[in-house]
């Protein structure tokens, strides 16, 4: 009799991830750098982001990138690099919180829908289909119109909710598909037979087993959330002055500056792109690594 190889999966380490997914690792490094800069912003940034210095304003012909202002200064003579570093706080906190909120609520809805099945499932699915028939930006703007502006400890709660809501149905749909295969497994029957409550089974037995797709989607949606925050702020519907925000730095850019102060336009957009790009790289690699067949 030939020897049957035991199919024991080797425990994969972080080092394996770095070797097998170099692009994802690069993304991870960039994200860590951004987080560090955001947390230690007062120590890293050369200027106070709200310091106005009209002599350095491009309106008066100044503000070019120089040793003093590495990336130049904006129309009020505020240092762009410092505003970008402080803007990372806004982008990352709103990005992380809204993606976390959207993914958590979506995961709970998805697993609940799969667990109960039948009419409950059908109803939830119909509702999700309905929500999915709107572009993300459109849904976010409608939510912005509904919720009054609320700022708690410097964070715009209404913007976070507006970004989280469009993500929820997408997450719920993917998680439900995953959970549907889990609810048929014997250990769920065992849990039911033990008399555990539905919420205990959902939270303790199903949710931990969908953590791979959860993590993948969380990473991807943080990137999307940063992009969405920038778009909303650009339109004047997101974060408002004087909070430094990348999208806000681009909004209301006078057409004069297109010709005279290109740095005011180039760097904030570059910051958004690099941040979203890093999260996308990491998200893509996490998917290849954890669950290559997952369709988002």
């Amino acid at each position: 009799m030939s020897e049957v190889p035991l199919n024991i999966q080797k425990r994969r380490t972080v080092l394996d991830f770095i070797i097998q997914q170099p692009l994802g690792f690069i993304g991870l490094i960039m994200i860590i750098i951004m987080f560090t800069a955001a947390i230690f912003a007062p120590h890293v940034a050369p200027f106070n982001p709200e310091d106005v210095d009209f002599e350095a304003s491009p309106a008066l012909g100044g503000g070019q990138p120089s040793w003093e202002h590495l990336l130049g200064a904006d129309a009020f003579g505020r240092d762009i690099l410092s505003r970008l570093i402080y803007g990372a706080r806004t982008a990352l906190s709103i990005g992380f919180l809204s993606a976390m909120l959207g993914c958590t609520v979506g995961a709970i809805i998805g697993t609940t829908s799969a667990f109960y099945g039948g009419k409950v499932d059908l109803l939830i699915q119909r509702f999700i289909d309905l929500m999915l028939s709107f572009p993300i930006v459109v849904l976010a703007i409608v939510v912005i119109a509904i919720f009054p502006k609320t700022v708690v400890v410097g964070i715009d709660i209404n913007v976070i909710i507006a970004i989280a809501i469009p993500f929820t149905p997408k997450v719920a749909r993917v998680i439900r598909a995953q959970a549907l295969t889990i609810v048929t497994l014997p250990y769920i029957d065992a849990a039911k037979a033990s008399g555990y409550s539905a919420s205990r089974i959902i939270f303790r037995h199903i949710l931990p087993n969908v953590s791979a797709p959860f993590l993948i989607m969380l990473t991807a949606f943080i990137g999307q959330a940063i992009l969405l925050e920038a778009s909303l702020s650009y339109l004047g519907l997101g974060v408002v002055e004087p909070t430094p925000s990348w999208g806000l730095m681009l909004s209301g850019v006078n057409s004069d500056y297109y010709r005279t102060a290109a740095w005011m336009i180039i760097y904030p957009g570059l910051a958004v792109s690099i941040a979203v790009f890093s999260f996308n790289l990491l998200g893509d690699s996490l998917r290849d690594w954890l669950d290559p067949k997952l369709k988002l």
Binding site: R126, D129, L130, S133, F134, P135, I136, V137, V138, I141, V142, I144, A145, I146, P148, G223, L227, A230, S231, Y234, L235, G236, L237, G247, L250, V253, Y258, R259, A262, I265, I266, P268, G269, V272, S273, I274, V276, F277, N280, L281, D284
Partner: protein
């Protein structure tokens, strides 16, 4: 096929009704008050009586169920009420601007399709090579770069090489060249993301199809590689790609909302932002309904297209 089509068309009605009811209910909780905003914009002091009188005139003081009946009974006639800001019919406001957005959407779809097909195919066929890596980085970039920023960069580029086309929009039928000049830049800035999404989808579906058994069979029986890829591979990889093209087209409004602001185009994206800023509920309601309807209709077209291409789908349902 006809039976399938009729069934699918009838299924649209409950979906649209549900959207209409939901939109109505959700927008009634909006806190802001357009009347005050409007009257103060006209200047001078505004008394409480004036606000109330204006509200009554616009029908905002009617009980909710009366408003609901008015709204629902108007829908089958295409009557979406009047804009609270301009007091023109909402349907006319939308109709006047939808052409521009539609043209922009078509142009960027066209760009996306002609660029994404070679990119996606090359990326799949040269998987793991330098070409694949370059294309993948370009397409991941397309999902990361904000379309409004790309638009601004394009404006800068045009400015440094020549002159921007005149502001406002010239109709395609009056002066096609100026129109093209005005539309191509916004189309590129929305189209980059679109191209990336389609190209990534095409790449992954070609790779999936090429690993199927029937491809191995085709190769084993000695078919030319070209025929294997084009006739057996591409044809099957096309189905999911068409879905993505259709869905992205339906979702293009999302990109247009921001891009139209950058290029100062008077399409429905800009109208949408204006309606939120002004708290114009009737207009917002009409726009959301328009978006949902176009999504449902495009979905229907995709499904019918699918059924026509793939007999399995017709027989299943």
């Amino acid at each position: 096929m006809l039976k399938y089509a009729i069934k699918r068309i009838l299924l649209m009605i409950p979906t649209l009704l549900a959207v209409a009811v939901l939109v109505f209910l959700v927008l009634r909780v909006v806190p802001g008050d357009i009347v005050e905003l409007k009257l103060t914009a006209e200047g001078g002091e505004v008394s409480l009586e004036q606000i109330e009188a204006e509200k009554t005139r616009l029908g905002l003081n009617d009980p909710l169920h009366i408003q609901f009946i008015k709204y629902m009974s108007g829908l089958p006639r295409g009557d979406l009420g009047i804009s609270l800001w301009t007091e023109e019919p909402v349907s006319e406001e939308i109709f006047a601007r939808i052409g521009l957005s539609f043209e922009l959407a078509l142009l960027s779809t066209f760009l996306a399709v002609i660029i994404a097909f070679p990119l996606g195919t090359l990326s799949a066929l040269f998987r793991g090579t330098f070409i694949d890596y370059v294309i993948r980085i370009i397409t991941i970039g397309g999902i990361a770069v904000p379309s409004f920023w790309l638009g601004m960069l394009l404006i800068m580029l045009v400015l440094s090489f020549g002159k921007l086309p005149p502001l406002g929009t010239v109709s395609l039928f009056v002066d096609p060249l100026t129109n093209f000049n005005q539309m191509i830049w916004p189309a590129i800035s929305v189209g980059y993301r679109y191209t990336s999404v389609v190209s990534r989808m095409l790449r992954s579906s070609i790779l999936e199809v090429l690993s199927e058994d029937y491809i191995r069979t085709a190769r084993a029986k000695g078919l030319y590689e070209k025929i294997v890829i084009v006739k057996h591979g591409m044809r099957n990889a096309l189905l999911p790609t068409i879905t993505v093209i259709g869905l992205e087209f339906a979702f293009l409004l999302g990109g247009l909302v921001v891009t139209e602001s950058v290029f100062n185009l008077n399409g429905i994206g800009k109208l949408f932002v204006d309606s939120v800023v002004r708290n114009d509920l009737n207009l917002l309601q009409g726009l959301v309904l328009t978006v949902a309807t176009s999504f449902v209709v495009i979905n229907l077209i995709i499904d019918l297209f699918y059924a026509a291409l793939d007999p399995r789908i017709r027989y299943q349902s």
